[in-house]
């Protein structure tokens, strides 16, 4: 924990004004004017990622054995960090309502079972979800900005976001323009995020902004590290690995690289940004590996639903099965949880 600031000075990213974000960014890149050249100079000045080392580190963290009471704690923590997700073309209001019902009462036989942090739906389903969530305290996250490709004009993407915010979304998951990023137009990516953040902050209560890097399309870990920093400079509240529509999605090494980035960003600016791996995490065993990585790489202060989330649809059921196994001692089966 030597690299992180003391708890008194930590700033939650969504509490910052746009001016503070710009000031923090300018301070980091050492240039009052945020230009493509300045961003490029800064991002290329970040140390490179040792790919073999990152993979080895992730593999090593995956070998930890988490048992009994630690496992029970981990399972409950995982549930409280899940963004229960449905992102299908075939989503109906009924399906969204049943997803919310599942989030409100994940384990009907055990009222002590924690609830997922949020439900994550497409933009047009936000009002349905908000109505179903009611006063339960579960957040509604919306994937906006022409998810999943992001291939639309800025005006359309901003209107998309404004729509979701107006419908009552508590969290906005935006995608970055990977084309611009890969072409080296970092300023465009930066300005997009700043613009979307502004829309998120228009209401009385700011919607948290999660920025999806879509690491499966960024090719290298160096790019993942640069995209992470670029997003945080522009004011992301969370950096998220993937849309779930591209393979590979949330791998452990990529998440380790992003956790290193948020850790270092906190040390540099005093702002604690969250991380959300999404896509492909289906079993409790995998999810526990991520928790180990969070604790070991970023630190304990990230073991909090405000700063770490899982984007997943089937993970919840597997965690519930493991919970049942722990409480009854007998292995459980898919007959004892809901069909999505």
């Amino acid at each position: 924990m030597s690299t992180t600031a003391s708890s008194g000075t930590v700033v939650r990213p969504w509490d910052r004004s746009a001016a503070q974000v710009a000031q923090d960014a300018a301070g980091l890149i050492g240039s009052a004017e945020i230009s493509n050249t300045a961003l490029r100079r800064y991002l290329f000045g970040l140390p490179g990622v040792d790919e073999v080392g990152a993979k080895a580190r992730a593999a090593q963290l995956g070998t930890r054995s988490i048992k009994t009471t630690a496992k029970a704690w981990a399972l409950d923590t995982i549930i409280s960090m899940i963004d229960l997700t449905t992102l299908e073309g075939a989503d109906t209001p009924g399906k969204v309502r049943s997803l919310v019902a599942k989030a409100r009462t994940p384990e009907p036989g055990d009222p002590g079972c924690p609830r997922p942090a949020a439900v994550c739906v497409y933009n047009d389903m936000v009002s349905t979800a908000v109505e179903a969530v009611g006063s339960s305290g579960i957040h509604v996250a919306a994937v906006s900005t022409a998810f999943p490709s992001g291939r639309a004009s800025l005006a359309v993407r901003l209107a998309d976001t404004a729509d979701a915010v107006a419908a009552g979304a508590d969290e906005i998951d935006m995608v970055i323009d990977r084309g611009a990023f890969l072409a080296g137009d970092y300023l465009k990516v930066y300005e997009d995020i700043v613009a979307v953040r502004e829309v998120c902050h228009q209401g009385e209560r700011p919607a948290h902004l999660k920025v999806i890097l879509e690491t499966g399309e960024l090719v290298t870990y160096d790019n993942v590290r640069r995209a992470s920093w670029l997003s945080m400079l522009a004011g992301a509240d969370f950096i998220k690995t993937s849309t779930g529509k591209v393979q590979p999605a949330a791998t452990l090494p990529v998440t380790v690289v992003m956790l290193e980035a948020v850790r270092d960003f906190l040390a540099a600016t005093g702002v604690q940004v969250g991380v959300k791996p999404a896509g492909g995490i289906r079993t409790s065993k995998d999810a526990i590996k991520f928790l180990v990585a969070v604790n070991e790489v970023a630190g304990e202060r990230w073991l909090d639903p405000d700063f770490f989330r899982f984007g997943a649809s089937t993970l919840l059921n597997d965690v519930l099965l493991q919970r049942q196994k722990l409480s009854t001692g007998a292995y459980s089966g898919p007959d004892y949880v809901t069909i999505d």
């Binding site: 007998a330 292995y331 089966g333």
Partner: protein
């Protein structure tokens, strides 16, 4: 110095593995145990499965179940008959396995293997006939067809007989397969070799991976896991009568928690397996589905 072909060889000592989901994994626990002949000579090492292996086997069986039950009855019959062909091809190995394991004479071992293969063929023939015999068009007072037909129960946990390591084994795993159940079988603790060889036969047959899963190890350790597993639908306790440290009544009580269908052992000792061949054993692992359909006019 030894010379190749001089008659003196280094022993090739075998360490067998489990058969789960169509693959041959080692036990997750890494444990093995020695299998000895009826006279106490070392035969091979077998994997000593743990409860996690049992869990994995149930998962594999569950995954394979819809596909196996969804195959046409005729196709299941063909696939099972093909297994009998392969058993015939491996006859010599089975004879050697049970001669050593059960201490039988050559002719008696031959007879037991023949009986086992014939039994497999007999059950294979039933796949497309059970519905005719056990199903029915029920007479009802109304303009409806009312049809009952047998359906597989699902995943069946089988505690294989401890003494009769091939004929007994075939007698308990072939019947549930007929209608489309999938099986997790705990092989005889002291005599697991025929079950392991049967796994090798199944792996090279057309039986899809996961339809039959063979666990070797301590019956007293594995049986309660299957009995209490919430995703196992039925349990055959044939081998629980004389397994070390197992009380079959306890297993039945565990199974009652999840309302499993349980086939109790018949009597206090293993039956004469030669006589244990009947349609009732197939129907022990079926459920009756009844549908109403309007006749129209």
């Amino acid at each position: 110095m030894t010379v190749v072909g001089e008659g003196r060889r280094v022993d090739v000592r075998k360490t067998y593995k489990l058969y789960v989901g169509g693959a041959f994994p080692r036990s997750e626990s890494g444990r093995t145990y020695e299998v000895r002949s009826a006279r106490g000579a070392f035969l091979a090492n077998a994997a000593m499965a743990s409860r996690k292996d049992a869990r994995d086997a149930v998962r594999a069986a569950r995954a394979a179940q819809p596909g196996w039950a969804g195959a046409t009855a005729y196709n299941r019959g063909q696939v099972l008959y093909r297994v009998a062909e392969l058993l015939e091809g491996r006859r010599a190995q089975f004879v050697a396995d049970i001669r050593a394991g059960e201490g039988l004479t050559g002719p008696r071992a031959e007879a037991a293997v023949s009986a086992a293969i014939d039994r497999w063929v007999w059950y294979a023939g039933w796949t497309d006939k059970v519905a005719q015999v056990a199903g029915n068009a029920n007479p009802v007072a109304g303009p409806y067809f009312n049809l009952s037909s047998p359906e597989p129960t699902g995943v069946v946990g089988v505690i294989a007989p401890q003494r009769s390591s091939l004929l007994g084994l075939v007698s308990v795993i072939a019947p549930p397969l007929v209608m489309g159940n999938t099986v997790v079988v705990v092989a005889s603790q002291e005599r697991p070799l025929p079950a392991i060889t049967l796994g090798e036969v199944l792996a090279t047959s057309d039986v899809p991976g996961g339809v039959v899963n063979v666990l070797t190890g301590r019956t007293a350790e594995l049986a309660p896991v299957l009995a209490s597993h919430m995703d196992v639908n039925a349990l055959d306790l044939a081998g629980a009568v004389d397994a070390d440290g197992v009380t079959w009544g306890d297993l039945e009580a565990l199974a009652a928690d999840t309302v499993k269908r349980v086939r109790r052992p018949q009597g206090d000792a293993e039956p004469r397996w030669r006589d244990e061949q009947s349609l009732a054993q197939v129907l022990a692992f079926t459920e009756t589905k009844t549908v109403w359909h309007p006749k129209g006019t």
